[in-house]
Symmetry: C2
Subunit: 206 residues, 2 copies
């Protein structure tokens, strides 16, 4: 009997507007801009609403993190279950918004301990899912796990992708095209050309 995932208050339009406002501020000006007053102003609402819906600012941050994480997890799952899981995963790691939010939360975690454990928990879950699916996929492609353990391929793609995204925010792009080309060459060797919007398998031949 845990807390129900969705209470009445979770679905309120006001609540969603506050989360949206907080996310906007975080992306545009960093987490330090996310104050109850500024969130209220951006959502055209009274600052006191933040406390009514989330209690404390920590509460707001945690709910915002969870909302984003759940969305990313759905995106990840869809990517991994598609016909080209490697391509899907690689593209999922490019999500600019999600990556920028993650960076802010990582910085936040330094002085908000509740955020820290939230991030750690979700990260474990993400990694496990990636590993479960891609381990099977890579073995299927004939990649020798002694030479390239699946987890290293995941860490490489995730790490490089995030690094490039961060650099992009500073208008640095030296070598980015070459880096992407090298990675995609390897993906292509395993999984063929990227097929955009591939038809679901079930619909083939009706």
């Amino acid at each position: 009997m845990r807390t129900p995932r969705r209470s009445a208050v979770d679905e309120s339009r006001t609540r969603t507007a506050l989360l949206d406002a907080a996310q906007g501020l975080m992306l545009e000006e960093g987490y330090a801009a996310v104050s109850s007053r500024r969130v209220g102003a951006k959502a055209d609402m009274n600052p006191a609403m933040v406390h009514y819906y989330f209690g404390t600012m920590d509460g707001l941050f945690i709910e915002l993190f969870r909302r984003g994480a759940e969305r990313s997890f759905e995106q990840l799952t869809r990517a991994l279950l598609s016909a080209q899981p490697l391509w899907g995963f690689w593209e999922a790691t490019h999500d600019q918004t999600s990556s920028a939010m993650t960076m802010e939360f990582i910085a936040l975690a330094n002085h908000r301990k509740a955020i820290r454990s939230e991030i750690a928990g979700y990260s474990r879950r993400f990694r496990q899912t990636q590993l479960d699916v891609l381990s099977r996929v890579l073995v299927g492609y004939g990649v020798d796990p002694q030479v390239w353990p699946p987890v290293t391929i995941i860490l490489m793609m995730a790490g490089i992708s995030r690094f490039l995204l961060i650099e992009q925010e500073f208008e640095l792009d030296t070598g980015h095209a070459e880096m992407i080309a090298v990675i995609e060459r390897h993906i292509r060797e395993l999984e063929g050309d990227r097929v955009l919007d591939p038809a679901p398998l079930a619909s083939r031949d009706g």
Copy 2:
């Protein structure tokens, strides 16, 4: 006739103590903990000293960033000019303190524009130096630049290293050992076993 690099005020003990205090706070509690009051308290000094030495908080942050960047640059140069430049570079990317500070400054840059251009400028300089040296080195090792352009090797090592460091701060280490093993296996193929504290070439048979 630009501003001289080192004025009298630059070498003051007080100034150094303030920078040290700011750095400590930043690492322990994140950039948001770096206020003139807290820096003053940590350095056992009056908060007004911060404004005397740095003018504004932005001034403090910029000087702190530069001090760290200069130190890292010296470390990088030493690593690249050593007998095993690839090993040296790889190890330089592991600097926990430097990486954590960089993360904080990246987050800061989101709402402090002066920081943003400071980071971009130094990053370009770092990348250029890495590229100049490692391009020659890798060609010397016989790495085909058509298949593995030097810049991709740099980006891979830097990106992966930072990713692992971030995860470590959240007590995540799944696959880290395997990832490091794979990278070091490749470095070893090019540059042999790591020789710790190698004697300078000049002293051999000297």
